[in-house]
């Protein structure tokens, strides 16, 4: 049997002759749209249907936050994301970065290897334009996100975008995708280490100004939308006397899960808020301790300097040579100012959780009144 396959599958290398890249001149009509130097600012992120379904699939597979790469091209200020690739799940925060970089370089190597000798691969976009991240309850501020995005900012065209997908909203029936990039002020501040209170004040940074949102659009190509519409088309049941609920059947039945009255995530959300506030409190305590430490050391140093000055004045008065001014930085170790980034991000988490809580509670308020109106009407009809 093996002989038969070998005979019928002659040398797979035969098809993979590398196609020499042909550089065509940019047509005049496109010269304004294609910017080689990435000068046209991004004003829209466009997600292809395939990317939507791949991100949703990847996010719903894991309880933890997942991330992956976005592949695509930008044209005239619109970033077209046409494909995505999931990256490894990471469990701990310590090996976070290492595993991410490993898998990313793996991916890079693989795409480069394959795109070199696969003619079709050239047809798919394989340039990394950003990454996506799943989140629960809308809270996605984290050190990792900011770090990764800051790395991308230097490596990728337009600095890359991050698309955030909220799993808890998707499970309730509303797929939420939002695109962000780091704001200019934040990047300036981020490059200055340590991230001190002074840099924050100079750049007028709060948690709301770390990221700026980029408008996002969902697009399906004509083939996909035709396929989806044929999937959701209602067909008459082949049965002779079907049940009323089965007269029509479709591959894509509508779900009305947004109308569900209960909100199972409410308790979890509340817990998240409390936890985030606790974390923030601890971090603030640490910061305050550091600042007190700095103040104490500074006071001691100043006291020493003052004492030395007084002594010198006395000696001069007595006609003696003054003692040399010593370098106080060597005598007193003033600890460096702590980074404020962590506490700012934590405050962002608190705000994000509270915002989700606010949203869901207002939503359930609307639903409750709607349900009561329905119930009252029901009582009038069937007393």
């Amino acid at each position: 049997m093996a002989a038969a396959i070998a005979a019928s599958l002659p040398a797979p290398q035969a098809v993979s002759t590398p196609a020499a890249p042909i550089h065509e001149p940019i047509p005049a009509s496109m010269s304004k749209l294609i910017d080689i130097e990435a000068e046209i600012p991004l004003n829209l992120v466009q997600l292809e249907g395939l990317v939507v379904s791949k991100i949703v699939k990847h996010s719903s597979e894991s309880h933890l936050s997942v991330h992956g790469l976005l592949l695509g091209l930008d044209l005239d200020g619109t970033l077209e994301v046409t494909n995505s690739f999931p990256l490894l799940h990471n469990s701990g925060d310590d090996d976070d970065k290492s595993s991410k970089t490993i898998s990313m370089s793996d991916f890079r190597r693989n795409t480069r290897e394959t795109s070199a000798h696969l003619p079709w691969q050239v047809r798919a976009d394989d340039s990394v334009v950003g990454f996506y991240q799943s989140t629960t309850m809308g809270a996605f501020f984290s050190q990792t996100l900011v770090d990764t995005q800051a790395i991308h900012q230097e490596k990728l065209r337009h600095g890359g975008v991050v698309v955030v997908h909220d799993v808890s909203q998707a499970n309730r029936g509303n797929a939420s995708f939002r695109a962000f990039k780091l704001s200019k002020e934040f990047l300036d501040a981020y490059r200055k280490t340590p991230f001190s209170a002074k840099t924050m004040i100079n750049h007028k940074l709060t948690f709301t100004s770390i990221l700026e949102e980029v408008p996002l659009k969902i697009r399906t190509n004509p083939l996909l939308s035709a396929f989806i519409s044929s999937l959701s088309k209602r067909r008459a049941s082949p049965l002779v006397q079907p049940l009323p609920s089965e007269v029509y059947h479709t591959s894509l039945p509508s779900s009305y899960s947004t109308l569900d009255l209960g909100n199972p995530t409410l308790t979890k959300n509340l817990e998240n808020v409390v936890e985030a506030i606790d974390n923030y409190k601890t971090e603030e305590g640490n910061l305050a301790y550091h600042i007190r430490q700095i103040a104490r050391e500074k006071a001691r140093a100043e006291a020493y300097v003052a004492k030395r000055k007084e002594e010198n004045a006395n000696r001069v008065a007595q006609g003696l040579a003054p003692l040399p001014e010593e370098d106080i930085t060597r005598l007193f170790k003033i600890p460096p100012e702590p980074s404020r980034l962590e506490s700012m991000l934590m405050l962002g988490q608190v705000d994000a959780y509270a915002k989700t809580l606010e949203g869901t509670s207002s939503l359930s308020l609307v639903k409750m009144y709607a349900a009561r109106a329905g119930m009252d009407a029901n009582h009038e009809v069937f007393p």
Binding site: A4, S8, K57, N110, T206, P244, S251, E358, R372
Partner: protein, 288 residues
């Protein structure tokens, strides 16, 4: 729910080797859309595209769930068919790192013609999925005149006294589209494309409008029936069941306490947000 027109054909299981129960296949939208994307990016000379299906096998090995797919390069001429196995291996290794739970379950092709080459490719994938039978998904993109978009699934059995790899009987097996809640909401977004994701309140509004439309239709039907137009008794009973559903759990006492809880939540959330905002602003205050 079947994909495509329901078939009235009778299937014969001609399996002569080890007997498996006919597997049932569920397919997730991500896999379908990958196939469509691959088809869209084919070269002019390619009649069809093929690729590897990734998925999981349920308990008892007879429920296969196709969760993803990647494209594989192949060429078909009148004399020969070739599949780039190196590429297939490399891609599988890559996806295996990210998602070790998904294994190769079969292969896909676009178009609905099954030929000798299909049997050869099927033979190759049978070795990849051994000891389980390889699933073949034929996706009709509906781009050719007279053909309807749809998905069909097959397993193969060898045929003839002396089985040869280029001869096989493709046995149709049932295939259904499986969407979980999250995927369902993603698809809802795609159905209305081009669009932008909206907030939950806007989503609720559009859903309520849908429900209102449906109620109007039902009301029109009921009024016609009341006016003496012949109507379906079974439908009437169904409507009675559907609309008479109780909302007792929201009874008078329950409603008030639940309302208080919800208002409390809303108040708390607003308070936390205000405090967070104040705290962030206070950090920026400098001594005059």
């Amino acid at each position: 729910m079947t994909l495509g027109a329901p078939s009235s054909g009778v299937c014969l299981n001609l399996s002569s080797g080890p007997v498996y129960r006919t597997p049932s296949v569920t397919i997730h939208p991500a896999a379908l859309f990958s196939i469509l994307d691959h088809y869209l990016r084919r070269t002019d000379t390619q009649q069809r595209v093929i690729g590897t299906l990734l998925g999981t096998r349920g308990e008892g090995d007879d429920a296969v769930s196709v969760r993803g797919a990647f494209a594989v390069l192949h060429s078909e001429t009148s004399e020969q068919v070739a599949v780039d196995m190196d590429y297939h291996r490399a891609m599988f290794d890559l996806s295996q790192r990210v998602n070790p739970k998904e294994s190769i379950v079969g292969w896909y092709s676009t178009g609905s013609n099954l030929n000798t080459y299909s049997a050869l490719i099927q033979n190759f994938y049978s070795q990849e999925t051994a000891p389980y039978p390889a699933i073949h998904i034929a996706l009709n993109t509906g781009t050719e005149a007279g053909e309807e978009a749809g998905v069909k699934a097959y397993i193969s059995s060898p045929v003839g006294v002396f089985p040869k790899p280029e001869n096989a009987v493709f046995v149709p097996i049932p295939v259904t589209l499986r969407v979980n809640d999250a995927e369902r909401s993603g698809l809802h977004l795609l159905e209305n494309a081009p669009t932008s994701p909206v907030g939950e309140l806007a989503q609720l509004e559009s859903t309520l409008k849908d429900v209102l439309d449906m109620l109007d239709r039902v009301l029109a039907y009921a009024q016609e029936a009341a006016a003496g137009k012949p109507a379906d008794a079974a439908l009437g009973r169904y409507l009675m069941d559907a609309l008479g559903a109780g909302t007792e759990e929201l009874g008078k006492g329950g409603f008030t306490s639940s309302l208080q809880d919800t208002l409390m939540m809303s108040y708390l959330a607003n308070l936390v947000r205000a405090q967070a905002e104040v705290s962030a602003r206070l950090a920026l205050v400098t001594a005059p």
